[in-house]
């Protein structure tokens, strides 16, 4: 499961979210996906533990 899929699993309301907007930015520089920026006004950035708990 990708990082994006884990985030959608945690926050289903983000399934239609426009990730081009730059409010939430996921990146991959060649060594795996990571959260580069999270400035969503209402949803908290998932913790490492929350993401790891999702299978």
């Amino acid at each position: 499961m990708t990082l994006y899929e884990k985030i959608i699993s945690l926050y289903p309301e983000l399934a239609t979210y426009n990730f081009i907007s730059g409010v939430i930015t996921l990146e991959n520089a060649g060594k795996g996906d990571y959260i580069a920026k999270w400035e969503h006004p209402t949803l908290a950035q998932p913790t490492k533990e929350q993401l790891e708990a999702i299978e």
Binding site: T2, L3, Y4, N18, F19, I20, G22, T25, L26, E27, N28, A29, G30, D33, A36
Partner: protein
């Protein structure tokens, strides 16, 4: 590098001899006005299909050099252009995504020093589609020491996309020095 440095107190008609090697820099009062001869230029492309996670900005691992006149592109570790001559460079990039996407978009982006710098055109398709193209072209200032650029791409929608190759025609980055500083 040979050097011509004119000053307001210089002598008109003076013949200047350089060392005969490298580029020719012309300065006015010690400030570079232009560099002539071996203008730094590079062109690189993706040689291996690269899988992409949707909704995730992904660095394009451009690993094949067509030319790199000043050895400023790293095609093995960080996949970035770090020019050693300060100035303004024209930078052009293109990504092609092989995918059958539903409600998909593709976006090419120039990253400067690790951050999103300039976006290209956004190509969209409401249903299906085999190839998604996006072009980005911009002028970038580099300090000649630490500044660098990379080509990144984003694809969203539903599907399993990858950056295309097709012998260097689909995902590439190139650039050249326009004006040294």
């Amino acid at each position: 590098m040979a050097l011509i440095n004119t000053t307001t107190t210089g002598v008109l008609g003076t013949t200047v001899y350089g060392d005969g090697q490298g580029s020719l820099a012309v300065q006015k009062d010690g400030v570079t006005q232009g560099i002539y001869g071996n203008i730094p230029a590079f062109s690189v492309y993706l040689g291996t299909l690269q899988n992409v996670t949707t909704n995730t900005f992904t660095k394009v691992l451009l690993n094949i050099e067509e030319f790199d006149t000043n050895n400023n592109y790293d095609n093995a570790t960080n996949y970035r252009f770090t020019p050693t001559v300060a100035g303004y460079y024209q930078i052009n990039g293109n990504i092609t995504l092989n995918a059958t996407l539903i409600n998909g978009n593709s976006l090419a982006v120039i990253y400067k020093n690790g951050s999103r710098y300039k976006d290209g055109n956004l190509q969209s398709a409401s249903s299906g589609g085999a190839l998604f193209y996006s072009v980005v072209s911009t002028l970038v200032y580099f300090n000649g020491t630490t500044d660098y650029v990379e080509l990144w791409g984003l694809v969203n929608g539903t599907g399993s996309p990858s950056f295309g190759v097709n012998t260097g025609t689909q995902s590439y980055l190139n650039g050249y020095l326009v004006k040294a500083t």
